[in-house]
Amino acid sequence: MSYFALGERYQHGQGLLYRVDPRVKIVIAVAFAFAITVVHAGHWQAFAGFGAFVALAVGTSRLPLWLVLRRSLIALPFAAAAFPLIFTKPGDTIFTVPLLGWAASHEGLVHVGSIMLKSWLAVLLAVVLTSCTRPLDLIRGLERLRLPRVLAGTIFFMYRYLHVIGEEGHRLMRARDARSASGPDGGKSGGSVLWRARVLGSMVGSLFVRSLERSERIYAAMQSRGYDGTVRFSNERRLARRDWGVLLVAVLALGGLIIYARF
């Protein structure tokens, strides 16, 4: 049971979107996230259009709706950053918070509502695409999108060793917690916050040294099998007609939505 498997979003399924090349899905997700930024605050019809795009994606992925909705809440805490605008944006007062006397403006509400909507729709689409693509395929997709080799190679190794080193970190914490006990008289225990932070620092340092030494052994294992410093990939795949079709439809739809939103 791997620690990081829990954080991965892939969900087994059968929808059309599962069979689309990961490159296409990555491009669509990034393009969508950019496209939605151009919508003016309060342009609800444009938001409805982007919403329809997301609905189409959810439909073709055939992912359970509740799953997509639940996962889309991940960015919610960040709303705190935009929230004060409700009260600080000048405009017509709609209501006043009792006791505090803060006046909420119409413009502020529209503005914050639009930000939240943009964020939520972009996260929804990203959730859909990553839920129907294996993490490894996403990473292979990046590589085939001609990411610089150093980055692609780094990400491949990172993904492989996330599990190994993540487990090591997890075991270190477990060993520490197993020794974090209260005293015989039940008195004050736990030391100071700074001491606990320093202990975590030691653990991080020890994980670093182990990681570095592991990278040396991996390098030896790679050399043993002929590695000469050039990162090579064996998987080269052309886009199928379906992939081009999906890409074309998405690009046209997003282009249309941008034009509708701005002009």
């Binding site: 950053a81 930000i115 972009a122 916050v193 320093r198 620092g201």
Partner: protein, 235 residues
């Protein structure tokens, strides 16, 4: 007990929708330019071992961000790691590592948005590495590389790096019109002044460990001939 997903510094991972088109685009371009330099410098320093070394260390940063310590009232602290990475492997390699960490967090784990990825990499990976490394070098240079100065330098580098990341995030939000300067800046800097102390202590603790066990690794580019295979770990 299986713990929940890594608790990342959420207020530094900007989600999509919070930055304007222009701010997002400009920071993508800046980030790409910085990474181009970083990749070239890193390949020169580490040559053949670049990919395995950077990959394993990126996994290390990812794992280190997941490790936490109890603060109070059920909350826990953890680290961002940009300054620590810069101190341990130099600013250029740190940028490559942090870019991969932040990128995979966004793409695979949905921590942080995709259109704002350039800004997030810049705030958490590039600015932290550059500023952190500069502060570290300034302090250790002042103290001729003596141990107390290394530790103080690490603390200062880590604290400043978190403050810089918080400042950049606030500024991007404010320029995008999604937050008020007057509110977001004092709030973010205030909170991160405290979070930064945790970052500083953890980073200094990590460097103290490395200093005690493998002092050869600090400030020296590892020599990846068969020499580094020396030591007990290969027996």
């Amino acid at each position: 007990m299986v713990l929940p997903m890594p608790q990342l510094p959420i207020l530094l991972h900007i989600p999509d929708g919070f930055l304007s088109t222009w701010v997002a685009t400009v920071f993508y371009l800046i980030t790409i330019a910085c990474l181009a330099v970083a990749i070239r410098k890193t390949s020169e320093s580490y040559q053949e071992s670049t990919a395995p070394l950077m990959g394993v260390l990126a996994a290390f940063i990812f794992a280190a961000q997941m490790m936490n310590f109890p603060v109070a009232g059920g909350t826990s602290g953890h680290m961002l790691g940009g300054a620590l990475a810069a101190i341990l492997v130099g600013p250029w390699a740190a940028m490559v590592i942090m870019a991969c960490v932040v990128g995979v967090q966004a793409l695979v784990f949905q921590d942080g948005g995709l259109a704002v990825l350039g800004a997030n990499i810049f705030n958490m990976g590039i600015a932290t590495a550059l500023v952190g490394f500069a502060v570290y070098k300034a302090v250790t240079g002042f103290g001729n590389g003596k141990r107390p100065f290394i530790l103080v330098g690490t603390f200062a580098a880590a604290w400043v790096s978190v403050m810089v990341a918080a400042f950049l995030t606030s500024a991007q939000l404010a320029v995008s019109g999604t937050s008020d300067w007057g509110i977001v800046l004092p709030a973010m800097l205030g909170v991160h002044a405290l979070i930064g102390i945790g970052e500083g202590v953890i980073s200094a603790g990590a460097v103290a460990f490395v200093l005690a066990t493998r002092p050869d690794l600090l400030g020296i580019t590892p020599d990846f001939g068969d020499s580094t295979l020396a030591g007990e770990h290969v027996r």
